[in-house]
Amino acid sequence: MDHMPNGLGNGKAHEAFVAEWRDKAYGCFSSGHKFCRNVCPVMQVTRNENHSPTAFHANVVAMEQGHITVEDVAEDYVHCTQCGACELRCPNTLMAGEFYRARTRTVDVVKAMRAFAVEQGVEQPNWKRWVEATVDAKNEPVLDVPVSQDNVRNWAKDLDIPVGGETIMFVDCEAAFYRTSLPRAIAQVLQLAGVQFGLMREQWCCGGPAREMGYNEQSRFLAQHNVDDWRAIGAKRIITIEPHDYVHFTEDYPWHFGDDFDFEIVHILDLVAELIDEGRLQLTQPINRVATYHDPCRLNKRKGIHEAPRKILRAIPGLDFRDVDHVTQWSYCSGAGGGLMIEKPEITAAISEQRLERAAELEVDLLVSACVWSERPLTTAGLAQSPQIEVRDIMEMVAESAGIAVEGVRELAEGGMA
């Protein structure tokens, strides 16, 4: 049962890691106030201090002091969706962090510790398999469907979307292979509004999940291909339809490539809100449902995108939209992000269940999300509610309200519709 520190890897790597992170960690450790804990989606369901943002910092100090090793803690760091709520709720962020140039950076600490664990050969079995399969197939091993470059564009069948061009629509793996109704809906909305865009020649996984799980080399390998493909087809502007991609392209790609990364990254919700504002997209068909909106963590907490989706939903006629403000939603999450769903699906399910319970209190029959990865666990949790709450993507709603008949697969999960 016992093992000794520094039994793995080499002491120099350990020292380099703690030297880089110890002062940043100390900013949290020495305070220990833990305002983060009640907004942390994982802590809310496990209530195990090992999984708290505070512990993620304190462990670094304990490593510095020689009490524990990366081997001791690596599995604890699985318990994070990288939603960023803890950083927003930290008094240091609110009051003093920028001033001291010591802003709390829990998401970065988690990414760094995961990467250090991988470097040291401490791997999580499901993440290892997932990343290996992604590198092998060039796309993530999305469940239930064959994944390969041969069918990465099947969702676009008969839509006459060109390959190449200045503006590229990047389609996330889950959307490309699993919830194909979503990219179809988005493509058709853009076509209706007269937005010119194309697809990549060969679209690989964005590499973001690998980066989130600590596999930086594999992440860069995938990212490099995508950037090369963009350059080869003359792309300058990338439309992302999924919040994780948006974070990876705006944060991780510049981390990989530095100043050479000069593409304009656009999020679909900002673009569509603009199209509606300019009158280029008319939402005319009523959707007579009672709905609330789920702020995807990466849009709301990481990138501050929360106004555009509300503007869009308020533009849909017939919709009874019962909003919960975006700050309250700092403590909401689907549990799907940061690889948690792949290693700890039961925790993801519990987080989604809690999210749906909050929706049920509003007596809605529809939960609208804008993150395709959230929609699988949220859908499962919605089906377990009584009465059931349906989960849809905001862009599918936009398409419907714009009078577009969307095909493709929306849901293969139990009780879902094919």
Partner: protein, 517 residues
């Protein structure tokens, strides 16, 4: 420096199987991160002696029955047991002194039996007040226990430390707001204590009152597994006013006048001294810049119905003006009051002082991560100016000599429940650069604390208004402060806890067992 505790320890080996029988394997943790992460609280911690405080095993019970079985096992095997709720206390009640079993109540977080007729709710000790108020809001009710740690602290810890609330002058403090509770005694018996035998009563007179015995015991007398709380109607109106003064003495006299206004909606007055203003100017990015003639500040808060608060606010503005204060405007007043929890939790960094010794030599002005010591003596109004001067002088002396401390100024908060006058919770905030701690610096720190506590006693006060006097240094003065009452406390401790298993080492209660068979 490097030293590695075994996992599991011999103590954990001894109790592990039985704990697993009680709780299931998933709720018994012996891994090092689980133990190291349930060691410190926000108060300054001897990081260089972390291993001295690491528990052997962590348990995560969900029911009273499980707690009873754990305590019985601890009592039978004479294994120390330390209860821990949020671990956000500013004394070190939840820091183990003798290793043993760390009983973490965070999974005892259910809310039962909301009584909207008698205005009570029954909760587990792992319930946080902010989350409770989210639950109560649709019912038009709220639970007004509102410490600086409101977003994270928990009912169990509030009871264990006998907490103080920022709006306690209006609504009372934890001991007033907890009507009754279920306590697992150190021998495993379960009792209910409250006012008389009823669980939802606010006043009774049957025989002796035991309830207060279980507030502030810092886990030395048992474990609260359930509490019935007194609820209030949600206030219709909140009013906050911040006043500025050209000097401390004017602010001090104005503070007295404001707190003695006689207004029933008065929730509290907070006096900021010059050093606090200096600190906010220096190092708080959210501080709204004020002219340099703003030297001291009073903050006042009113809560209640609109009919109460609107005219009371006019009265407060008049008193503030008449006593030499300048109203700082709605933006500062409302914004700073709304940010009070975060504002009082910011000190994460300090600066090294010009001319100070130790590691500060040649690094004046440098920002370093610092832990926060928040002294919380209870002091009478008449003694505030003298205590303030002595405390800053003590802090200056240690800062200059050791270089690892910083003075972040002082607050004085109205202290009495429903009686915002006469006595104050007096806080000096001192930063400690923990990364530089060694035995010598830690000894200096505890000596500094002892001097600070001695001043409080010398002025007829108490070492602590709400955190507890368990911290190294000051704890040595507890017998001096309490006199003969401390002897009675030791008798009670030994009677309830014959084997000294509940948080042993705290409050010098080991003395109760000296010479015992």
């Amino acid at each position: 420096m490097t030293s590695v505790l075994p996992s599991p320890t011999p103590v954990a080996e001894r109790v592990y199987d039985e704990l697993v029988d009680i709780l299931g394997e998933a709720n018994v943790l012996v891994d090092r991160p689980a133990r190291y992460n349930r060691t410190r609280v926000p108060s300054p911690f001897p990081v260089h002696r972390w291993n001295d405080h690491v528990p052997d095993v962590v348990v995560l019970p969900e029911s009273t029955e499980q707690v009873v079985e754990i305590v019985k096992l601890a009592n039978r095997t004479k294994t120390p047991i330390v209860p821990r709720a949020a671990g956000t206390g500013l004394a070190d009640g939840a820091v183990p002194l003798r290793h043993g079993i760390l009983l973490d109540v965070k999974r005892m977080n259910r809310i039962w039996d909301l009584d909207t007729q008698n205005y009570t709710v029954n909760v587990g000790p792992g319930v946080n007040m902010l989350k409770l108020n989210e639950f109560l809001q649709p019912h038009g009710l709220f639970y007004p226990d509102n410490p600086a740690s409101y977003p994270c602290s928990m009912v169990g810890g509030r009871i264990g430390t006998s907490g103080w609330s920022l709006i306690g002058a209006r609504y009372g403090h934890t001991k007033d707001l907890v009507l009754s509770m279920e306590v697992v005694l150190p021998t495993g018996e379960v009792i209910e204590v409250g006012s008389g035998g009823g669980r939802k009563l606010r006043k009774a007179s049957t025989a002796l009152t035991l309830k207060e015995l279980f507030f502030g015991h810092q886990g030395t007398l048992g474990i609260t597994t359930n509490a019935t709380l007194s609820l209030h109607p949600r206030p219709e109106a909140e009013f906050a006013a911040f006043f500025a003064y050209p000097d401390y003495d004017t602010a001090y006299r104005s503070c007295g006048a404001l707190s003695k206004s006689g207004l029933a909606s008065m929730a509290g007055v907070v006096l900021f001294d010059e050093r606090k203003l200096d600190y906010l100017r220096r190092d708080d990015e959210a501080y709204i810049e004020q002219p340099s003639d703003v030297v001291a500040v009073n903050a006042v808060a009113l809560y209640g119905t609109e009919d109460e608060v609107v005219p009371a606010a006019r009265r407060i503005l008049q008193i503030g003006y008449d006593t030499g204060g300048r109203y700082l405007g709605d933006e500062v007043s409302q914004g700073d009051w709304a940010a009070r929890h975060d504002r009082y939790a910011i000190p994460l960094h300090g600066r090294l002082r010009e001319g100070a010794g130790g590691p500060a030599v040649g690094r004046a002005g440098q920002v370093v991560p610092m832990s926060w010591h928040c002294e919380d003596a209870a002091i009478n109004y008449t003694e505030l100016p003298a205590v303030r001067e002595k405390w800053h002088a003590i802090a200056d002396r240690y800062i200059e000599r050791y270089g690892i401390f910083d003075d972040w100024g002082m607050f004085a908060y109205t202290n009495g429940s429903h009686s915002p006058y006469g006595d104050y919770l007096v806080e000096i905030d001192i930063g400690i650069w923990e990364q530089e701690l060694n035995d010598e610096n830690w000894a200096a720190w505890t000596a500094c604390k002892k001097e600070i506590a001695q001043v409080a006693i010398d002025h007829g006060g108490s070492i602590t208004a709400c955190h507890g006097a368990t911290r190294a240094g000051e704890v040595d003065l507890v017998p001096q402060e309490l006199g003969g009452a401390f002897e009675v406390m030791k008798s009670i401790k030994r009677m309830l806890d014959p084997n000294n298993i509940m948080n042993p080492g705290k409050y010098l209660f080991d003395q109760a067992y000296e010479g015992a068979p």
